[in-house]
């Protein structure tokens, strides 16, 4: 158990509304990641963070923003949700000094209607 929680676990929202997903970790890991998982695509990186207030874009960052004001929390925001953002979102951490292995949270299933 890597001490990662995600909230909410499920959410249904309407097109055009803002949505924020939260990832919380308890072990002060420096590196945190947000992925989305869609059938046939595996996991795709949205944004990542390498420290408080240090974030960067992944391969599918359009329409998403992130914030990390505390080591333990990494927030993913959909400023104006679209149906194409219906997906399962996973947060992950990477312990420093590891072989780049990542440990994942339980996921958030988001449906945009």
């Amino acid at each position: 158990d890597a001490g990662i929680t995600q909230s909410p676990r499920h959410k249904v929202t309407e097109t055009g509304t803002p949505v924020t997903l939260r990832c919380h970790q308890t072990e002060n890991h420096r590196y945190m990641y947000w992925y989305r998982q869609d059938p046939g695509h595996g996991l795709r990186l949205i944004h990542y963070s390498y420290g408080v207030k240090d974030t960067d874009k992944g391969e599918v960052s359009d329409g998403y923003s992130v914030s990390r004001s505390k080591t333990e929390d990494f927030l993913l925001t959909l400023e104006s949700a679209t149906s194409s953002q219906t997906s399962v979102y996973f947060c992950a951490i990477r312990p420093s000094g590891s072989g780049y292995e990542q440990y994942f949270g339980p996921g958030t299933r988001l449906t945009v209607t």
Partner: protein
């Protein structure tokens, strides 16, 4: 963007059969990881292979990293229903922040 293609995409077999899952790319990776994911849960790391040609065994699972570090395979001997799940390979980029590039996934169903 680096890509990892997995094959097959879906595999349905009987308990006791053997199977191999392939993970291929035209890009070189510094290491490669295999994860298994069950419904409603996040992926769980199975193994990391680092050296070209490396072979690692985890009980009935055998993982191999290609000599050129562009591909990998997962072989399961005498599959059991507990092996059912989504198998994902993930390559570690050689440059930059060593981000993970995930494969497209192989969904395995092992029936009793």
């Amino acid at each position: 963007t680096q890509l990892l293609e997995q094959s097959p995409q879906f595999l349905s077999i009987q308990e006791g059969e053997n199977l191999t899952v392939y993970c291929n790319s035209s890009s070189v990776f510094s290491s490669l990881q295999w994860y298994r994911q069950e419904p409603g849960e996040g992926p769980v790391l199975l193994v990391t292979v680092v050296t070209g040609g490396e072979v690692k065994k985890l009980k009935r699972l055998t993982f191999q990293f290609g000599d050129a570090r562009k591909d990998s395979s997962l072989h399961i001997t005498a599959a059991q229903p507990g092996d059912t799940g989504l198998y994902l390979c993930a390559g570690v980029e050689v440059t930059g922040f060593q981000k993970l590039v995930f494969g497209t996934g192989t969904r395995l169903l092992v029936s009793p």
